[in-house]
């Protein structure tokens, strides 16, 4: 289509939003699961150590498991109740892998176990803010799930000057950030100010897509009168939520391939994370629940809903009236990048922002045909890659060829698959190629390590032999001289 507005970045697509399904609905807080399932293994693979045993009473907000370092965020009980069981249970990982899981029954009491007086949080030092964020187990709620405290601390180290808050929410169907901005703008702004203080940022920009006028208004009012916070309305274009593209759209800076945004002095956080930071710092409340959008044409009553972490997908769906008969696929996240859920009985973890139940019609997947080299995928790729070439190489197991065409820069954003008229599952090829390359990398790493160890051993043996020989020779020649004991050690 013709548009006279300059595009914020090259490429991108305009998938139909379907936001009207849930956009006008207040966040519902009435959902109370009868039990929650909390996995002891985090997304990045690190393990938590349980601090409770079967039969223990736990209170809402109580610390129940802890990792060995700051990279492993602590786990708190989302409900008041009893530890019923500790057993292997499904996680939301698409492989359907099971991990050790705490099962806590809920007694329905919604009060916090411990209530901290709301201290004069505005006087806290930046390190105290980070400490509280770390202690509260806050992770990025935009989907990556990286510990927020660590991110803040690293940002300060690399002298970040600009805090960019992502209110883009470019995935179709999802409206939870939109609702959060409309309903809790002042908490978000307070959280943003705390984050800005924690990293020492001199300017803060909140970016919101232009298809959320109410959210824009609410945020505008909430930050009225504060210096240093500015609001930037960006055009709605997928993938605006990608960190690099948001930065490009707002500041005009293009982060180089392989570079982190902090190298340019910019840190990106999501609006929901800002709210969690506020809760963590002001009330010292851990992150035990989040707002998600339950939507799609195959769910009875789509909603924005606050769910305790660890609630089962099946319970949340039941709360929203259940599935319709035409439901064909359940997805965690949005339709562009979300994962198919391996089962309805998986717990929702901190990084899940949406649950979608879609019908065949909305998935709109057809049999793939041969590539006609139409170049559509090249046109929409926001990273400036040539997806059809990368796919051709990946298809021939030529990982190196795929990398030469930029596979490492691929966001797996799905814009190319979305537009391809031949319905070629391009992203599937890239995921496959990426996992193969990763496997190869860790293999070479392992064999390198093994080789280094063998070499070291051989050198050591050779050294010992030489030393022994020298010692023997020395002994024979001058028996009175003190022996060099190095060889015997």
């Amino acid at each position: 289509m013709f548009s006279l507005k300059p595009k914020p970045f090259n490429g991108g697509v305009h998938p139909k939003g379907y936001k009207e399904l849930t956009q006008q609905q207040d966040i519902s807080k009435s959902f109370v699961p009868d039990r929650v399932y909390l996995g002891m293994q985090q997304r990045n693979g690190s393990m938590l150590n349980s601090l409770v045993a079967i039969g223990d009473q736990v209170t809402k907000g109580q610390l129940i498991a802890r990792g060995s370092n700051d990279m492993t965020v602590p786990l708190h009980s989302p409900v008041n109740g009893t530890v019923e069981d500790i057993k292997p249970f499904l996680s939301s990982h698409p492989s359907g892998i099971k991990s050790q899981t705490l099962v806590i029954s809920n007694n329905g009491d919604k009060r916090w176990g411990e209530d901290y007086p709301s201290s004069d949080y505005q006087k806290l030092s930046h390190e105290q803010i980070v400490e509280r964020v770390l202690k509260a187990g806050v992770v990025g709620l935009g989907g990556a799930g990286f510990p927020t405290g660590i991110k803040l601390r690293l940002a300060r180290k690399s002298k970040v000057h600009t805090l960019l808050i992502n209110g883009g929410e470019c995935e179709p169907y999802l409206t939870c950030d939109d609702r959060l901005m409309r309903e809790q703008a002042s908490e978000i702004i307070a959280g943003i100010k705390l984050m800005a203080k924690a990293i020492g940022a001199t300017s803060t920009i909140i970016a919101i897509e232009d298809n959320k006028p109410e959210a824009i208004n609410a945020i505008k009012q909430a930050c009225d009168g504060f210096n240093g916070i500015s609001l930037k309305v960006v055009p709605s274009l997928y993938p605006m939520g990608s960190e690099r593209h948001l930065i490009k759209a707002v500041t005009g800076i293009a982060i180089e391939p392989g570079q982190l945004s902090t190298a340019q002095g910019i840190l990106v956080h999501n609006v929901a994370t800002a709210k969690a930071v506020y809760q963590a710092v002001r009330y010292q409340r851990p992150l035990i629940e989040r707002v998600i959008t339950v939507s799609g044409d195959a769910v009875e009553s789509p909603a924005n809903i606050t769910v305790p972490i660890g609630s089962l997908v099946s319970q949340v769906i039941a709360e929203c009236g259940g599935l319709k008969a035409e439901a064909k696929r359940m997805i965690a996240g949005g339709p562009m990048m979300g994962q198919v859920l391996p089962s309805p009985f998986v717990p929702i973890d901190k990084s899940v922002g949406g649950l979608l139940a879609l019908s065949e019609e909305k998935i709109n997947q057809r049999e793939s045909q041969d590539c006609v080299r139409c170049g559509n995928c090249v046109k929409v790729c926001p990273m400036g890659l040539m997806p059809f070439q990368m796919a051709a190489h990946s298809n021939n197991d030529d990982w190196q060829g795929a990398q030469e065409f930029g596979l490492d820069s691929c966001l797996l954003c799905g814009a190319c698959s979305y537009i391809c008229p031949s319905s070629i599952p391009l992203v599937q090829y890239f995921q496959h190629a990426k996992s193969n390359i990763n496997a190869q990398r860790s293999m070479t790493q392992k064999s390198n390590l093994a080789r280094q160890l063998t070499e070291a051993r051989q050198q050591r043996l050779a050294r010992e032999a030489a030393a022994k020989k020298a010692a023997k020779a020395a002994k024979r020649k001058r028996p009175t001289r003190s022996r060099n004991t190095q060889g015997e050690s």
Binding site: S95, R373, L385, Q389, Q428
Partner: protein, 334 residues
């Protein structure tokens, strides 16, 4: 019930399909084709129909031989090839010559290389060149126009329009210097190939495709400029021997090439810079062949020559990876 086996994202699709694209292009071409029928009458219909039938039959045979589902012959791609070839032929071309050309285009131009998406050369133009070499007389025998006239008793159709006898005429390309009224060229009331005469209708069809996002403006613009710039310079230096840019752009297959032939998805480069280069190359070659070559029309040759370069262009003129430009700047600055 929902299926819980993992499938890769995205879980939605734009709904764009190859078949859609093909039929949209055919739709965009049809006004110019109908205009050809209006101008040249039943002979034009014969050429169009024989091309379509021959292309479809060839497609079915080839798919059968490869053990593929013959039903995919209705995907529009062979129909589009047939239409493009027919529109580049004189309306007086005998039906069997047109059929041979189309069969060649589909079988040799497309399926020998593995079918849709794998052919390096534009099939319609391959067919056109093959016919030009094998049947030089028929392929340069331009029928005079004979559009029906509106008289007192309604529309009157001439004998020629009914295909009963034919009168040939010179095309503007034969002597580009002879000054042609530009509005005649634009609307297309002159002799020429079946579907190439109305520059206006073709350009409108092309703009429609650009508006719908099927083609991008890079190739049309650079191709037209590729003709216009050298033509203007030469005309300015020596107006006796070189036709003006206007005559070049509005006559022959220039418009058709710019919007429909050079923009063929399969055989043109995919990146914007590649498309700019490709279009400019086509335009320049068209002008060179018209001005210095022994053929009056250069579109088919120019497009085929540039097709041969497409893989190289695609290899060297890739889009810039996001952010890599600043890397380039920085390393130069450092």
């Amino acid at each position: 019930m929902a299926a819980f086996n993992p499938v890769a994202a995205p879980h939605t699709h734009s709904g764009l399909s190859t078949t859609n694209i093909m039929y949209l292009v055919i739709l965009a071409l049809s006004p110019a084709a109908l205009h050809g029928v209006w101008l040249f009458g039943l002979p034009a219909v014969t050429v169009l129909v024989s091309c379509c039938i021959s292309a479809w039959l060839s497609e079915v045979v080839c798919l059968q031989l490869q053990g593929k589902n013959w039903l995919s012959s209705v995907d529009g791609s062979s129909l589009l090839t047939a239409l493009l070839l027919a529109m580049s032929l004189p309306a007086s071309t005998p039906w069997w010559i047109a059929s041979i050309g189309c069969a060649f285009a589909i079988m040799i131009g497309k399926h020998v290389y593995g079918g849709l998406g794998h052919n390096p050369f534009n099939p319609a133009m391959l067919g056109r060149v093959m016919l030009l070499i094998c049947f030089p007389f028929e392929l340069t025998n331009w029928q005079a126009t004979s559009s029906p006239s509106l008289g007192a008793e309604g529309l009157a159709f001439s004998q020629q329009w009914m295909g009963i006898d034919g009168v040939s005429a010179a095309t503007p390309l034969a002597d580009l210097n002879q000054v042609q009224a530009w509005n005649e060229l634009l609307i297309g009331t002159h002799a020429g190939s079946l579907g190439e005469t109305s520059a206006l209708l073709i350009a409108l069809g092309g703009l429609f495709l650009i508006w719908r996002g099927i083609i991008r403006p890079y190739i049309p613009c650079s191709l037209l400029l590729g003709i216009a710039i050298p033509a203007s310079i030469a005309h300015w230096i020596n107006p006796q021997d070189f036709a003006s840019a206007f005559s070049h752009l509005l006559s022959g297959g220039a418009m058709l090439a710019a919007f429909f032939i050079a923009t063929d998805l399969v055989t043109s480069p995919t990146s914007p810079r590649g498309q700019l280069l490709f279009g400019a190359g086509c335009g320049l070659l068209i002008w060179l062949i018209r001005s210095f070559g022994s053929y009056p029309e250069g579109v088919a040759f120019a497009v085929l020559i540039m097709n041969a370069g497409t893989p190289v262009i695609d290899h060297y003129l890739r889009p810039k990876i996001f952010g890599s430009q600043s890397l380039f700047k920085r390393s130069k600055g450092a």
